[in-house]
Symmetry: C2
């Protein structure tokens, strides 16, 4: 019998463990997919403009100025936008709004390890559909979700941790076939090469069951700010906006800074282009070292080590050199390394260290 | 049949409606219990010290510096402290951690209208125990909670909207008798007169089922920042800290500012003293106008109007004069007005307007 006060499912579950966040400044941090370049000077201006007196009062409960800015940025209406305290809050809200305890949530595996944790907190069942060997979705993905009775599916695109992009048409097909709400976690979408012409935002006016997750953590260099947003049809956004969300979920300062970041997106866009160039170079250089990566459309690479032992060894030896990368002790990932694309100096230092480790 | 995607309980419920947050600066805002004085200059210094480059990285997932500062402030250990995105997040976390859907949550009524909303989102049952005529708790409060099988009780102290303080001894008695988790929402505790010697913080080392809610919104003049924290025994704090909480629930800037605010609590303490003096004056002046208030230990007063019609009329006529106060369309409150204690000029202006309305 549970003698603790917490619910049985909370007692028996394990929490999510975030990637290491060292406080030392001499660490090359390629483990949690931050943008290597800082946010736009307009964000600094917005920060400087904050007067402490403004904080005395409650913030806009709906983050109304940000909401309109994001709507304009995507060519949508403000009712399509749900500002959140980081992308993680949107994941939680989608689950607590659309899936009753005991109902089923679908994911593709491997994927973001927070999805099963949030599913467990809500007391939902999880159906995990394995990705193909090349990390693409199986053709019958929507059918399998429907077969399992899933009320909600969480799909990260570009995929983490492989970086593979599923095309917009395939996503639309899945949304059309799937009978529940399809959340597309686009945390890394800013790094997708524009030649892919991937943009699902206009689809929120066409599809009644799609919910897109965006965050300012990666593309806009504001992981420390905790600001994200959802985009979807009004009927999907409204219950989260006016019922399940904490009334003042985003604060005054982050609303101002996030608005400035989107308004000066051209600045961030330059960082995305630099990350893409570096991604290509790093992929080629890792390949030369025998560390093959699938073609990534994100700001990280999933490098294939010789075997599990080698992979673990590389992580440990890099750490001794003050370089952090991410290792997942999970099926299909134990012989692989997830490496965030850094700036040219960081990437070169990583490659130099890897050369001496591997040779 | 529910043709919408959201869960049945979400579809049928109504959301919480926050008090009006006008954007005009000429409004005298006595409707949402903000502190009339700004935060300490140390908070401004902390804001000025933020470099946008720091925001590129994720914040401390546990807000570790704030946690230690709060522990020192209360004479506790860091494991007794749970930093949250406003006090509202702690309410939600307590519910999602300690009460299974279908289980019962207890409250005293009338009270903070968010409690029933959060209960409904989790799919829990609510047992509402009426306060006595003088707004005190009935002597059999804990017995009635136990009789209803409540797993969690939410109690605001000082009480909102009356401002009445329940003494520490009575709270300890309730915690000892109650079989579930007792959350004491101390949102307004900073305004309690020190001569009451009310401090439950040391009790989190004595009682295994108590959880105290604190916020920087009122006492520390930082409603716009969204920062609060829970205090409790390790066994109560841990499941929320490491399992049900969003991994990065508080952002880097708010962590720094909240830490500075607690470190310079002496500054805030002067504002509490000023609010207490004004509270006394305002109570006396309202009394002279026939608007009697129970003795408040908070930063608001609950004024008794002649009847429901008069109460509604006063709210409307004050609004025409750009003065906002709060009206609750709820049993036992329809003939009353909740008025936040402002600064001397605001209070005088309010009294002048009330005089001309009532005469």
């Amino acid at each position: 019998m549970n003698m603790a006060f917490e619910r049985d499912n909370i007692l028996s579950m394990s929490g999510y463990v975030p990637g290491e966040q060292p406080t030392e400044s001499n660490v090359i941090k390629l483990n949690t997919n931050e943008n290597p370049y800082p946010a736009s000077p307009r964000v600094t201006e917005a920060l400087t403009a904050i007067n402490i007196e403004e904080l005395r009062r409650y913030p806009s409960p709906t983050a109304s100025r940000f909401r309109q800015t994001a709507a304009d940025y995507h060519g949508l209406s403000d009712y399509n936008i749900l500002p959140t305290n980081g992308g993680d809050e949107l994941l939680r809200l989608a689950i607590t709004t659309f899936a009753d305890p005991g109902e089923t949530i679908g994911i593709a595996v491997p994927s973001y390890s927070l999805y099963p944790v949030l599913t467990e907190i809500q007391g939902c069942k999880l159906v995990s559909i394995p990705l193909l060997d090349d990390w693409n979705l199986p053709a019958n993905f929507a059918d399998r979700l429907n077969g399992a009775g899933a009320k909600l599916a969480l799909l990260v695109n570009p995929h983490a941790p492989s970086g593979i992009l599923t095309g917009a048409e395939q996503i639309i097909d899945i949304a059309n076939s799937f009978e529940g709400v399809l959340l597309i976690d686009e945390a890394y979408v800013d790094f997708v090469d524009p030649e892919n012409e991937y943009d699902l935002a206009p689809e929120v006016e066409q599809l009644d069951n799609i919910l897109l997750l965006r965050t300012l953590s990666k593309g806009f260099s504001l992981a420390g700010l905790r600001f994200g947003y959802g985009m979807g049809p009004k009927t999907i956004i409204e219950p989260m906006m006016y019922k399940t969300r904490d009334s003042y979920n985003t604060d005054h300062i982050s609303q101002q800074l996030a608005t400035a970041a989107l308004e000066s997106a051209d600045y961030a866009r330059q960082t995305w282009s630099k990350v893409r160039s570096e991604r290509l170079l790093l992929t080629e250089e890792l390949q030369k070292l025998g560390l093959t990566c699938p073609p990534s459309q994100s700001n990280f690479l999933l490098a294939q080590a010789e075997n599990e032992e080698t992979a673990g060894d590389i992580v440990k030896r890099l750490k001794r050199e003050n370089i952090l990368i991410r290792y997942f002790d999970e099926d299909r990932l134990r012989d692989k390394l997830r490496i965030t694309v850094g700036n040219p100096e960081q990437n070169q230092h990583l490659l130099d260290c890897l050369k001496s480790i591997i040779s």
